[in-house]
Each structure stands twice: as structure tokens, then as C-alpha cells.
């Protein structure tokens, strides 16, 4: 059997964040009066300004005292070198702001919702550089458009994650390494990876690059709201390992226990490496080294091996067990400043599988330190993506797909040239995800043959509740509804799903298509038969564990304002089906009921 290995080596998992205090403005240096702290913010996607409600937790540039003053830029009190920063932001329609790393390298925050063609000035773009000496009309240069337009609608909360590496300088102050945007992730979509900055971007506080400087939020253009701002910097010292001594044993070791065995070979190494092992299997290797801990703190040991192994510090077992080399095993321990004794024992009692040994130590506030030689841990092998495109006409594709961590078996994904796509559970007549951007990643399903045989959205996705939205009046919406799937017919290339709903004794069709304005999807249920239950049916517009933002009478923001639902007809009724959950419903009138999803 072919082993299909999901390589997740060094994935971006451990982000130990420090939360920025947004109870007040004390994190910022001389904030202008345009900046306030608020408790809630909302806006319709068509609003050019944000409505605020008093409270704490949200940083808002209200622009109440006017705009186009650089003094309205908001500077943080702390300086940073390498930094990993995450936050959520909301822009009004036409919004324009940005985050300057080290007050010099700007990632643009802008309302680029729905734009087909984007450039460096769109949301998530790394802004252009500027030099008047280049001549009129040619001053702007460089700058990097996001790999895709990952923007959500104005008036929704969007997320941004930036991993930035500061430039490096030698002792004489000469730059020896450029600043790098290692990763920029907008709304969960990777939009830049390892872009090296050849200099500062336009609007930097100085052309002079430095090792450390504060972040800056652009405040001179439009309103912007920011919350949940977290970061990690990497200036704390971490462990240093001394010379490694090793002892090599051969024999049938199923566990990393030496027992009474005698080593057949011993030696010294600069770093841990499996390369001193001479056999493919039936061996034990025991590495020992001194570990110099600079400051008392919690240290995380992240190890990788094929076979079984154990990591011990001062004789205490941390990581252990039988693993494949692509699985990270992790354990945290508190270490005091000073010298500690590190031991790694590794065995492999089977001949297959690549040999590998890797060990990182991660301290919050410093980069991971590799205690192994680079060649001791295999580089992951990437596979070329198999993309299903929906550029010219609507397309649909059935597959298995994950929804809220569960694998669904009867999933239809429908892509549209408008760039708005959805996935749908055919058994449940239920939306699973809606997304915008490129359509579908089918690589897992169509490359080779193994598990899990799923496909996934390629664009900015919003997770739906996965439930059939029609209910009988005054009855609770179940986790599932008994439905008889009757197939689908195509209209203009788009599927219209057909169902029988036994509880209401109704035949119906479910048609999901881009809405007339092109802002989202419109979903329409049409009843093809009549039954007395029809007028006693209700449509659940949405379920939300994070409150419902009543933006207007017929426009609500759900799941922490991560998407809008809009409808015509009567205002909805809000229920509280269980603790913490809000549900909004409208009654079904006539043969048709519809609503729109906008994100």
C-alpha cells in the first residue's frame, strides 16, 4: 500500500500571541483625537461610515476631526524587529488604511470587495515604493498585489495575519539582509509568501531602514476599526546547545530503552543528525548534550522522527512515542536559567519509511531553535495544485468535503464566473460554505488515490450552519431534516436542486445563484406542490453564536459579522433556541421564499 503522507512539517501552528490592550489608547503614542476605543461597530456594506457603540475592545478611527493629516497616523508605543501580528479590521465602503511594519513597510487595508483586477493598492497589497527622482508619472515602483483578492464586504470583520522579518544590519550599521514579508494571510487566504522588501514603501516615516521601530496604522484617509490585535516578537534569547555526544547500538529495540546493551560506536557531533546511523532498522541511537538556558521560562520541544523515540531534559521524559517523520510531537516544560542535560533516544525496528530526526526548541518571544542539522529532517514534497476553474461558465463538482471538522459524503460544489461559489450537502439541502475568488482545489481528490479524497474552497470562505433552512412554524430546527433528494436540473448551467420535504408534504426546488447586484448569492425555495403546511412554514435566515447585528430591518450580520443576510418582505423574528445561540426566521408566504448571503 502506498502511504500518502500529509506533510505538515513546520506548519505555522504555534503562535504565542500577546494581546494588545484595547481598553484604552495607552498602547499608542500621542493618538490624535480621531482615534477612540469603542464597544461595537457596524455598517451596511453600502455605508461609507461606521456606526459605533460605546464600550471597550475596538480601536476606531472615526475621522471626526477631519482627514488627510499624517498626524492622524497611529503609532504604537513599542518597537519591534521580527514580528508576527494578527488582527481583525472593518472598513466602510471605500475604506482605505494600512498597517506599516516598523512604520516603513505598508500592508494596505482597503475596501477592495469584489474587484476583479487588483494591484498593490488593494487590500492586503504590499504598497508601492516612491521616488520623485524617477521622473513625473514614474515615481511609483515595485509594490506587490495580493495573490488573489481575498477581501470581504465592507461592514464585515476581516482578519489579517502578517509574519514579518526585519532587516538585518552588521556592526557598522550596513544592511546585510532585506526585510521580508514571510507570510501575509487575509481572511484565511495566503496572499504573499516570502516577499523581500528592497526598500521602504511609499509613506514610510523614513527612507532609512532600521532594526527596530514601532508599527503604525494609517489614519489619514478613511474610517477603520481594528480589534483583537495580537502579536509575537522574537527578541528574547533562547537555548543554546553544546557539542553532542552519541552512542550507537544495534539490535532489536522496539522501545527507546537502552537496557544492558553496549554501544558499537560513539562519537561527537555539532548538531543532532540521523546521518550517523548506519542501518535502516534495528538500531538505537542515544544523543546527549548540554543545553544552556538563558532565562527561566517555559520552553516547547518539537520533535520529528520515524520510529520511536524519547526526548528527555534532566532525565525527565518530554516527547515520546512512535511516529512518522512528518508528525510533530510537542511538549512544554519550565526550565530554569543555566545548564541542563538534553537526551534524545531514537529507535527504528522496521525497514521502511524515511529516516529523519528533527528537534526544535521554541520559547515564546524567540524564534524556534533547530538543534538538528538541516539535512537530518526531510524537506516536504509539494504537489502541483489541481484547480477546478469557473472562469467561463458555471461549473459544479461533487466530492467529499470537510465541514466544521466533519467529512460530508454527498457534497456538491458550485462555481460561478462571478467568482461567488458555494458548497452544498445534497442529503440535507444545506449550504456548507460560500466563498469568493478562485473556485475549487481538487488536488487531494485527483492526485493519486489516498485519503481523505476531499476538495476545498480556494477563495475567501464563510462557513454556513449545514442545516436545511425550512422549518414548520414554532418548531425547533433539528440538526438534520428528513428530505428526499430528487436530483437537480440545470438552468443557465446552474443546478436547481429538487426535494421532497415529507414533514410539510411538499415538493420544492432550491435555486442558488449570484444576486442581481453581484454582491452575493441569492437562494430561492420554490414550492412545486401545495399542502396546508406551506403557510405554516418558516425560513431560518441564519444561526449565530456571536449575536446578530441588526444593521437594518432586513439586513443582519451573523457569526460575529462575518457575513450578511438580506431579504425582502417582513422583518425577521429572533429566537433564542439555546444558550448563546440566536436564530432569525421569516414566515413563508406564497410559493416562493428567498434570501441573500453577502460577504
Amino acid at each position: 500500500m502506498r502511504k500518502l503522507i500529509l506533510l505538515s512539517l513546520l506548519s505555522w501552528t504555534c503562535f504565542a500571541q500577546q494581546q494588545v490592550n484595547l481598553k484604552d489608547l495607552s498602547t499608542f503614542r500621542n493618538p490624535s483625537t480621531n482615534w477612540t476605543i469603542e464597544g461595537a461597530v457596524q455598517a451596511a456594506y453600502s455605508d461609507t461610515s461606521l456606526q459605533v457603540a460605546t464600550g471597550q475592545g475596538i480601536l476606531v478611527n472615526t475621522l471626526r476631526h477631519g482627514k488627510y493629516k499624517r498626524s492622524d497616523d497611529l503609532e504604537f508605543t513599542f518597537s519591534h524587529g521580527d514580528i508576527h501580528v494578527m488582527f481583525e479590521f472593518m472598513l466602510p465602503k471605500g475604506g482605505n488604511s494600512g498597517l506599516y511594519l516598523q512604520s516603513r513597510y505598508e500592508v494596505q487595508l482597503a475596501d477592495s470587495w469584489g474587484k476583479k483586477k487588483i494591484n498593490f493598492g488593494d487590500c492586503g497589497g504590499i504598497y508601492e515604493r516612491w521616488d520623485d527622482a524617477r521622473g513625473k508619472g514614474k515615481e511609483g515602483y515595485e509594490g506587490y498585489a495580493p495573490m488573489q483578492n481575498a477581501s470581504k464586504a465592507s461592514g464585515l470583520w476581516q482578519s489579517m495575519e502578517i509574519d514579518f522579518q526585519a532587516p538585518r544590519f552588521d556592526a557598522s550599521g550596513k544592511k546585510i539582509q532585506n526585510a521580508v514579508f514571510k507570510k501575509v494571510i487575509l481572511n484565511g487566504i495566503l496572499i504573499h509568501e516570502n516577499i523581500e522588501m528592497l526598500g521602504v514603501t511609499r509613506g514610510a516615516v523614513s527612507l532609512q531602514e532600521v532594526a527596530s521601530a514601532p508599527m503604525l496604522v494609517q489614519g489619514d484617509h478613511t474610517q477603520v476599526a481594528i480589534k483583537n490585535l495580537r502579536y509575537e516578537t522574537y527578541d528574547k534569547p533562547s537555548v543554546r546547545m553544546g557539542a553532542v555526544s552519541y552512542d550507537y547500538y544495534t539490535g532489536k529495540f522496539t522501545e527507546p530503552i537502552i537496557g544492558t546493551a553496549k554501544p558499537i560506536k560513539s562519537g561527537k557531533l555539532d548538531k543532532l543528525t540521523y546521518k550517523v546511523i548506519q542501518d535502516k532498522n534495528d538500531y538505537l541511537i542515544h544523543y546527549q548534550a548540554d543545553l544552556e538556558v538563558p532565562e527561566s521560562d517555559s520552553y516547547e520541544f518539537q520533535s520529528y522522527w520515524t520510529g520511536s523515540g524519547v526526548v528527555k531534559v534532566d532525565g525527565v521524559e518530554l516527547n515520546q512515542g512512535a511516529h512518522w517523520y512528518s508528525e510533530m510531537v510537542s511538549a512544554k516544560t519550565n526550565l530554569t536559567a543555566g545548564k541542563h542535560h538534553l537526551e534524545v533516544i531514537q529507535v527504528k525496528d522496521f525497514p521502511w519509511g524515511p529516516q529523519a530526526l528533527g528537534l526544535y526548541v521554541k520559547r515564546i518571544g524567540s524564534h524556534p531553535v533547530a538543534l538538528h542539522d538541516r539535512t537530518s529532517l526531510l524537506d516536504p514534497e509539494a504537489v502541483g495544485i489541481i484547480e477546478v476553474k469557473a472562469n467561463a461558465e458555471p461549473v459544479f463538482q461533487r466530492s467529499f468535503a470537510f465541514h466544521q471538522g466533519k467529512k460530508k459524503m454527498y457534497v456538491m460544489q458550485v462555481g460561478d464566473p462571478s467568482g461567488m461559489h458555494y458548497s452544498y450537502d445534497l442529503k440535507q439541502g444545506a449550504l456548507l460554505h460560500v466563498w469568493r475568488g478562485p473556485f475549487l482545489n481538487a488536488t487531494q481528490m485527483w492526485e493519486n488515490r489516498g485519503e481523505p479524497q476531499t476538495s476545498e474552497p480556494l477563495g475567501v470562505s464563510v462557513t454556513m450552519d449545514g442545516k436545511f433552512p425550512l422549518v414548520l412554524a414554532h418548531q425547533a430546527q433539528g440538526d438534520s431534516t428528513e428530505l428526499v433528494y430528487k436530483g437537480f436540473r440545470l438552468k443557465d448551467g446552474r443546478p436547481i436542486f429538487m426535494y421532497q420535504w415529507p414533514a410539510a408534504n411538499l415538493q420544492m426546488e432550491d435555486y442558488i445563484r449570484p444576486n442581481a447586484a453581484g454582491t452575493g448569492l441569492e437562494r430561492t425555495f420554490t414550492f412545486k406542490s401545495t399542502s396546508p403546511m406551506q403557510s405554516a412554514s418558516e425560513l431560518v435566515l441564519g444561526n449565530s453564536y456571536h449575536g446578530i447585528a441588526d444593521v437594518t430591518a432586513k439586513l443582519i450580520g451573523l457569526q460575529g459579522q462575518s457575513y450578511f443576510v438580506q431579504w425582502d418582505g417582513r422583518p425577521g423574528e429572533v429566537l433564542n433556541p439555546k444558550q448563546g445561540l440566536k436564530q432569525e426566521r421569516i414566515p413563508v408566504q406564497g410559493n416562493e421564499v428567498s434570501y441573500q448571503l453577502i460577504w
Binding site: M1, Q453, G487
Partner: protein, 617 residues
């Protein structure tokens, strides 16, 4: 001009081929393969084929599309034309066309597809039946095949979790009948990987099975209602009220004894009609199709053509019924297809469309997918026509009159019989191998039939015939000289009286089968040519090549493992698939190959290492 150059090049190649092999005929001299070109942007991983009565061909793919091809017979114009009829389905591994609609299997659904506005593109997709499915990648769904009542047969692959498992989703491991009203009738069980099946002219269902757990080797089995074909993965569902039989795993012996012994205790355990010895007659049996073209497709009307995915070839199977039980023989027919064969369907002209995909498994044909046509050019090859069981042996018939001298020589034959284990482990070595002796024979008046009297016939065993010495009257050898007959039943009736006139002229050569203990003397390295001859003789080349990765690793790659010759011997006799996790198909134990030969091969393999060091930096 380009076309002319191409033609000249072809002519040159064929002249060259002729010059090289002026005497011995090849498969290509009779059974021609034509390739249907595929537009570069189409990923035609064929899962299903349906011949349409209007001269078009429909192809379903693993990427969920149905393509309709115009001019698939390439008459006058070699170019063919593709139009996408349907799309977006979930791994369509079976396709049928009936009354203007397509029926196909998706992983979780049997679907009817219609073009209601007749614009050439489907616009209505209706579920005929929704199958239970757990989401395991190995839960493939194949079909439908329509029976004469309009019911649809569908086979449901087991999940793979280190072994075949059917319990996660209902009716996995079964052949089911879906009635037009959407009800399911469980029909037969014990299926592991039933990728190909069909109904013969008498209305009987045959399916091809892949070697695996509880399946010692590839095989074709006749399935009647209530049959249990051997793999217990799906037996959970035999407890259901509508199951046609009751059986539990506990009732099945798992002691490595052959399947016929277990069948003596489990009355509906169905023995294969024909075993296809692993690595020799394929490694992954797929479609089974009876030649119903009345002589258009092949010189063997009524016989069956069985495809193999891993070895990219089509084999021939002849069946007879003895005591009411199907049994018969298999023999190679045509190799050299471009990818792994999954589907065979006859065209309107009696040629066969061959649909291919090798994704996930690899195949001898190196393309990722392909579509070809197999055509008999009407020339009569010298072939074994048929093998039929007799009370005291077999009757062989040939397509041409034989040279009587050649058939009367015992040295023209090498016969032996053996069987496989029936066990939960993956695959099986050959066991209970015995040489067979021909004691007498009789040649028919037209010299087309040879009746052999054989000592030591064994019921249920695979009887191997190697007919290297047999010639026709022009002195040509058989196009295919090796066949395997599965002797489920020995017919009753008259025996051939052996007299001086029909006694075998000389003692039959006894094939040595017992692996002798090997002394650790260093084996001299044989030449590449000698190695290739040995590798071919023992069918190693079916899965391995010297330098290229085929089904298994190349010999150069094996050399890099630094095994000793003796370790290689041990691994040939008892392979450890976990040594090669990147290869999808597990190696079968080849313990029937004499140790001396394996050691010669092993030292040759290890010689490749030093050569590699010398020749390639």
C-alpha cells in the same frame, strides 16, 4: 508534408521490425491496437465506456465527466471529436446508455442523466439510488450493468483500512440489483475489489477480482444470487433481513488451506470459474466481456476477454460448464496498451474500445490514461483455441492443424498444477505444486484437436499448460503457449484407452519445483541477456524493469538497497511490501521460482550497483 514524413517513418519502423523478426509472429500481426487521440486539455481517466447505437462513444471519467466522442471508429478520418456531455460527478467508474439516457455510478449514487432539451449537454441529473458511503477512499462504486429485465447491477468495493472492510457502509462488498423503482435487492457478497463484471449470453454474471486479502490471486467468478465469493469484509450485511443468505466471519476457516476446503464447509462459498495466476496472468483483473460479435472481434466467438489494469493487457478466457459448474482456462491475448485497463466495450463494428487509467496504482503502459481500440485484422493466428476437461485429462483444440510430430513429443509440453491459500493475509504463494505427466494422447483426424491423458489430475487445482514445442504444419510455434485451466469439476464419461499407438513417445520432463537449500557459494554474475531471459521466463518483467519504475521498483533501485543475494532470495519467496511503501501493488510471493535462478538474478541485480557506480557519477 508532415503526414508523409510520419508515414515514411512508420514504414521504416515496420521494415526494421520485419527484418529483425522475419519468422516469429507477434500479437500485433493479428490483433491491432488503434489509439484514439485525446485533446491535450482533457484528463480522460476512463472509468466507464458506453457504445451508442448512433455510432458515437461515451466515456465517463474519474474526474466526473461524460464525454461523447464522434467518429470513434476513425473511419476515413483518424481524428475524433470530443464533446462534454456531463460533468461534476464523483468518480464515475461505470456508464451505460439506455433509451436515450445515461446511467452511471458515482461514489455515493447511481444516477440517471438526461439531455431534455437535446442540445448535446445533459441538464437533468436524477438519483436512481443513493448508496451508503463512509468516505473511505477505497469505497468505489462500479456500474451499472443492465440485465434483461432492466434491473441495474452495481458492485460496491470494500473500504481499505489495512485490510478490506465493508462494515462502515451498507452493502459494501456486495453485488446489488437496483430495480427501476429505486429499490435495492442484495444479490451476492464476498466481493473485494469488483471493478469489472458483465452478463454473458446465457444471462449469467461474471466478475473479475483482484488479488488481496482472502484472495490469493486474480480470478473470475460466476455470481448467482446468494453466492459468497470469498472475502468476508461485507458479511456484516448478511444479517440484514433482505440478505439472501446468512453467514458470519466465524464460520469461515482461516488456516491457509485452499479455498475449496473452506467451500466444503460453507455451502454458498463460490469458487472461481477461472484463476488468473498472479503476476503471470495480470495483477489486477478488471473488466470481463464475452465476445458476442459472432466472429468480428476475434477468432474466438463466445469466449471472454479479461482486462488487467497493472499489466495493461487483455487476456482470453474460455469457459465450459461441467456438472453445472463454470470452469475453464485463461491465456494471454494482447499486451502493450498505453495505460492501466479498466474498461472494455464492443463497438458497433465488433472492435473493442479499451478505456484506461493508472492513477494511484501504476501500470506497465506508462500513460496516465488512454483510449484505444483493439481490432482483429482477420488473419488467423496459430493459437490454442480451447481447453476442455475430460475424465482422464484434457482436450486441447487449435485454430490450425498441428504438426503431429510436435504434439507427440513429451518435450513439447510442461504441465503442472497448484493452488493458492485462502487466508486473511494479502495474496498467497503458490502451494501444493506438482508436475503432471502425460501418459497418452490422441490427435483428431483434422489435426485440430489433441486429447491428453494426464496422470494426477486434481479437482479444484489450476492446471498449467506450457506448450512450447507445439507447431503448426508450417512449423510456427503458438502465438501464446501458456494457459491455465481451473479444474473445478472432473467430468464423468469415457476414458481414452492407452495403447502403443497413442502412448507418449518419451518420458515427460519433470519440472523441478522444490527449492533446494542453498550453499553460500558466490554465484557468478550472468550477462544482461541471460538475466533478461531468466526474468522473462519467471515473469519478473511483468512488474519490474532494469532501470524504469513499472509496477514494482527497478532492478537498479533494488540494487541500491544493498541486500545480499540471500536476502533477495528470501524477499522473492516472501516479499515484505512495507519495504516499498511508495509502490501501490504488493509483490506476490514467487516461491515457485527455483532458488538457483533467483540467486543468479540476485547477483546480477547486485552487479548493477557497481555498474551504476562506475557509469553514472
Amino acid at each position: 508534408m508532415k503526414n508523409i514524413h510520419y508515414t515514411i517513418a512508420l514504414l521504416f519502423v515496420s521494415f526494421f521490425a520485419l527484418a529483425q523478426k522475419s519468422t516469429s509472429k507477434t500479437e500485433q500481426d493479428y490483433y491491432e491496437i488503434k489509439t484514439l487521440p485525446i485533446p491535450k486539455e482533457i484528463y480522460l481517466e476512463v472509468g466507464g465506456l458506453a457504445t451508442m447505437p448512433d455510432g458515437r462513444l461515451a466515456v465517463s471519467t474519474r474526474r466526473g465527466e461524460i464525454w461523447i466522442i464522434e467518429n470513434p471508429y476513425q473511419s476515413a478520418n483518424h481524428q475524433v471529436h470530443y464533446k462534454r456531455f456531463a460533468s461534476g460527478m464523483h468518480e464515475v467508474l461505470g456508464l451505460a446508455y439506455r433509451d436515450g439516457a445515461f446511467y452511471c455510478s458515482q461514489r455515493g449514487e447511481l444516477t440517471k442523466i438526461t439531455d431534455t432539451d437535446r442540445d448535446g449537454v445533459a441538464d437533468l441529473y436524477e438519483p436512481v439510488y443513493q448508496f451508503d458511503i463512509s468516505g473511505n477512499y477505497h469505497e468505489y462504486t462500479y456500474g451499472p450493468v443492465f440485465d434483461k429485465n432492466g434491473d441495474m447491477l452495481v458492485t460496491l468495493n470494500l473500504a481499505w483500512v489495512g485490510f478490506g472492510e465493508g462494515k462502515f457502509a451498507k452493502w459494501r462488498g456486495w453485488l446489488v440489483k437496483i430495480h427501476p423503482d429505486g429499490t435495492l435487492e442484495p444479490y451476492a457478497a464476498g466481493l473485494r475489489s469488483p471493478a469489472g463484471y458483465s452478463i454473458n449470453q446465457d444471462g449469467d454474471i461474471f466478475y473479475g477480482e483482484n488479488q488481496g486479502d482472502w484472495v490469493g490471486s486474480g480470478r473470475v467468478t460466476h455470481l448467482a444470487k446468494g453466492d459468497f465469493a470469498g472475502n468476508p469484509g461485507g458479511l456484516k450485511w448478511a444479517k440484514e433481513p433482505n440478505s439472501p443468505f446468512r453467514l458470519t466471519l466465524e464460520e469461515i476457516q482461516d488456516n491457509g488451506a485452499p479455498m475449496y476446503e473452506a467451500a466444503a464447509k460453507v455451502k454458498n462459498l463460490k469458487l472461481p470459474a477461472v484463476w488468473f495466476p498472479h503476476a503471470i496472468m495480470g495483477i489486477s483483473t478488471s473488466d470481463v466481456l464475452q465476445d458476442t460479435t459472432r466472429g468480428k472481434f476475434s477468432p474466438f466467438p463466445g469466449q471472454y476477454f479479461v482486462a488487467d489494469q497493472g499489466q495493461s493487457k487483455i487476456m482470453r478466457m474460455g469457459l465450459e460448464k461441467v456438472n453445472g459448474v463454470y470452469q475453464g482456462f485463461c491465456i494471454n491475448y494482447r499486451e502493450g496498451f498505453q495505460s492501466g485497463i479498466l474498461r472494455e466495450r464492443f463497438g458497433l463494428d465488433g472492435s473493442m474500445f479499451v478505456g484506461m487509467t493508472s492513477r494511484g496504482w501504476g501500470s506497465t503502459g506508462k500513460d496516465d490514461f488512454g483510449l484505444q481500440r483493439l481490432i482483429w485484422n482477420g488473419q488467423m493466428p496459430f493459437e490454442l483455441q480451447d481447453i476442455q476437461a475430460r475424465p482422464d485429462g484434457f482436450e486441447l483444440s487449435f485454430t490450425q492443424a498441428v504438426d503431429v510430430n510436435s504434439v507427440k513429443k513429451a518435450a513439447s509440453y510442461a504441465l503442472r498444477s497448484y493452488i493458492y491459500k485462502y487466508q486473511h493475509q494479502y495474496g498467497s504463494p503458490i502451494i501444493e505444486l506438482k508436475p503432471l505427466k502425460i501418459s497418452g494422447l490422441e490427435v483428431s483426424a483434422d489435426k485440430r484437436k489433441v486429447r491428453l491423458v494426464i496422470d494426477g489430475l486434481r479437482q479444484y487445482f489450476i492446471h498449467e499448460f506450457k506448450l512450447e514445442g507445439i507447431r503448426n504444419e508450417s512449423g510456427d510455434p503458438l502465438l501464446h503457449e501458456t494457459a491455465y485451466y481451473t479444474l473445478n469439476q472432473i467430468p464423468t464419461g469415457g476414458r481414452l484407452a492407452i495403447q502403443a499407438s497413442n502412448r507418449m513417445e518419451e518420458a515427460a520432463e519433470v519440472v523441478k519445483v522444490v527449492a533446494k537449500p542453498v550453499k553460500s557459494t558466490k554465484t557468478a554474475i550472468i550477462s544482461d541477456a541471460e538475466a533478461m531471459a531468466l526474468l522473462k521466463k519467471h515473469t519478473c518483467l511483468a512488474c519490474h524493469a532494469k532501470e524504469a519504475k513499472v509496477v514494482g521498483p527497478s532492478y537498479v533501485d533494488i540494487a541500491k538497497r544493498n541486500y545480499t543475494d540471500k536476502q533477495i532470495l528470501a524477499l522473492v519467496y516472501k516479499p515484505n511490501p512495507q519495504n516499498w511503501p511508495d509502490y501501490a501493488t504488493e509483490m506476490a510471493p514467487m516461491s515457485h521460482v527455483p532458488a538457483g535462478d533467483v540467486l543468479k538474478i540476485a547477483s546480477w541485480i547486485n552487479g548493477l550497483r557497481s555498474k551504476a557506480l562506475l557509469n553514472h557519477d
